[in-house]
Symmetry: C2
Amino acid sequence: MISRKPLKRVTMNEVAREANVSPAVAARALGGYGYVSETKRTQVEAAAARLGYRPNMIAKSMVTGRTRTIGIIGADISNPFFAGAVKGIADESRRHGFDTLLTNSDENTEIERDALRVLLAKRVDGLVVSPADVNDCDHLREAVQQGTPLVMLDRIAAGIQADSVVIDNVEASRRAIAGLITGGHRRIAMVTELGTQSDRKLLNQLDKPESADVTTLNTSGARLLGYLVAHRQAGLSPDPALIRPTDAYASASARQCTLELMALESPPTSIFTGDSVMTLGAFAAIQHLGISLPDQLAFMGFDDMDWMGLVKPSLSALRQPVYAMGAAAIELLMARLASPERPSEHRVFEVESILRDSTRNAWCCHN
Amino acid sequence: MISRKPLKRVTMNEVAREANVSPAVAARALGGYGYVSETKRTQVEAAAARLGYRPNMIAKSMVTGRTRTIGIIGADISNPFFAGAVKGIADESRRHGFDTLLTNSDENTEIERDALRVLLAKRVDGLVVSPADVNDCDHLREAVQQGTPLVMLDRIAAGIQADSVVIDNVEASRRAIAGLITGGHRRIAMVTELGTQSDRKLLNQLDKPESADVTTLNTSGARLLGYLVAHRQAGLSPDPALIRPTDAYASASARQCTLELMALESPPTSIFTGDSVMTLGAFAAIQHLGISLPDQLAFMGFDDMDWMGLVKPSLSALRQPVYAMGAAAIELLMARLASPERPSEHRVFEVESILRDSTRNAWCCHN
DNA sequence: TAGCGTTGTGATAGCGCTATCACATTTATT
DNA sequence: AATAAATGTGATAGCGCTATCACAACGCTA
């Protein structure tokens, strides 16, 4: 039960009275607009300080229609990818005089819809969203249509007229796998979450990746597609037993999947993980089994973390410039706020291959 | 340049007209309060849906004086400690129907002051703050006095009438060091950031920790104090050469400090780090030098991370229940919103010692 | 029939500001 | 000196809602 009496705060009118000027003058002095004489400005400022006046953004937003606030809908702040991106978003927003309202969707479209409703009710000036499912985005489309600019981060939902900041997941993954294939690997396992229906559909068409519609795939689906394409291009047919979708408790599940993979009659000679959480679990399994990398198993994962250079052997990874991507999202948003009619822009960032010991002699640059 | 025309949005009045009811009825139907007949409620809801009506929280806050928003001032979201805490804060807030406005202080009091000003202007209903410097908190005190409830997380600023959620840094650190001493170590190094003046003052009184004023110490100062107390209690005099304050670029600096420590004529037999960022840098140095843990050097650090169990050898650490601490901060805030006059509550969480290979045979439980 | 509570509806003040007038005064230009 | 422009001030509408009235219509009891 919330107490009902909102506390009485000092208002501009009281400051005006204290300073013996009209409310209009006080407003101009405090708000920094229009004409005010130096004398009165000082009077007003002194009065404001004396009374402990705090401007009320709510009231200001009420009349201006702007809040100088950006809403963020991310999957999970405790995931390092988002933590880094959120930092970039927050810093860059601040630089432009905007604040950030943060929400978590937990990769759940229902929660996302809810979060969106709240952010729109709060009248944020713009949104940065990582859609939980790119195939279920009517709510996002409606927000854009009603006039709230939106930038998609990490994932692009088809059919939404909005800017985006992404990497080319298919190509990054394809290149990584192609490298392993060129390095001589033929049994490459992939451990990844496959949270959505459309991503899982890929499992039924392992040999015809070209028939998949990229625009309906989420991040991990796209990474799996890259895996399939690399195989296809090399004339190889992927073994379904080596593709392991994990379930919800991601890290633990990745560990379990990896244990099972290595227990196969014909285990993989190399393993590729869909993100850093998968990498954590898979590597835990590898340690547990005492498997030696890269001789017995080559290892490469999506998303680079500091610690990957410190484990033995060190782990190769595909690095996304997360902070820069977050900052870029805000740049695009600011550009759109300035000119709402500009054509939508899609910023594709480069993925860097960080080659460490876990792929030594196992990976060859492909192109 | 921001475009100036705020876009025209559907208001309650328009919904009322569309539904052929008075604005008051529409307000009650949409706001879910007071009497409305079933018939009219349905009419209004239909009209709202038809027009794509979105409630305006700003206007509502204007009259109610509440925003259902919690402001967070944290040091750095990309630091795993805060990322975890922020998750706890956000989740728990959401459970209570509150949203979170996130800001970063970068451990800088100036930025913190700024962030506070903005959050108060936005009329947040409450604050969760990790003060950058517990000795420079007049701005926080004023906020509390003006009536915005505030919970301090991770650090307590003296003389502020507010709730707090912390761990006992002195005791946790003292116990860890005492364990190393009992384990036979006499030359224990400490690598930690010492960002504030008051923390650095400790360096001038290594042998009389009891003369330090705990309430003026920040997190890392308190941890250093624990280190000193443990030595004192064991009748040992700490070697100043083994206490290494790092500077700004934390991880790299910790690496450098560790390299220098190990190059000493008489190097430490054990090393203790002030947080996970320090641990990362220190461990990188240890790997670089090829030092074997725990034989050549016992290792223990503050803050546990997933990867610490995966490096070779695995690293011992003091684990804080970060998520729970974030959630607890919101619990306290909600309790205070419900009864503003309740006495302030200080929640002290337990620190768990995660003993792994890096302290094998080097650490003995002390009490 | 009068008197009462219950249920539903409408009118409207006002939250704290900004923006826009109208107007007063000073300074510059012809 | 007359006019125009620049500079400063005050009054006030209104942003979209909620909360508070006043009141009407209805069924109930006495």
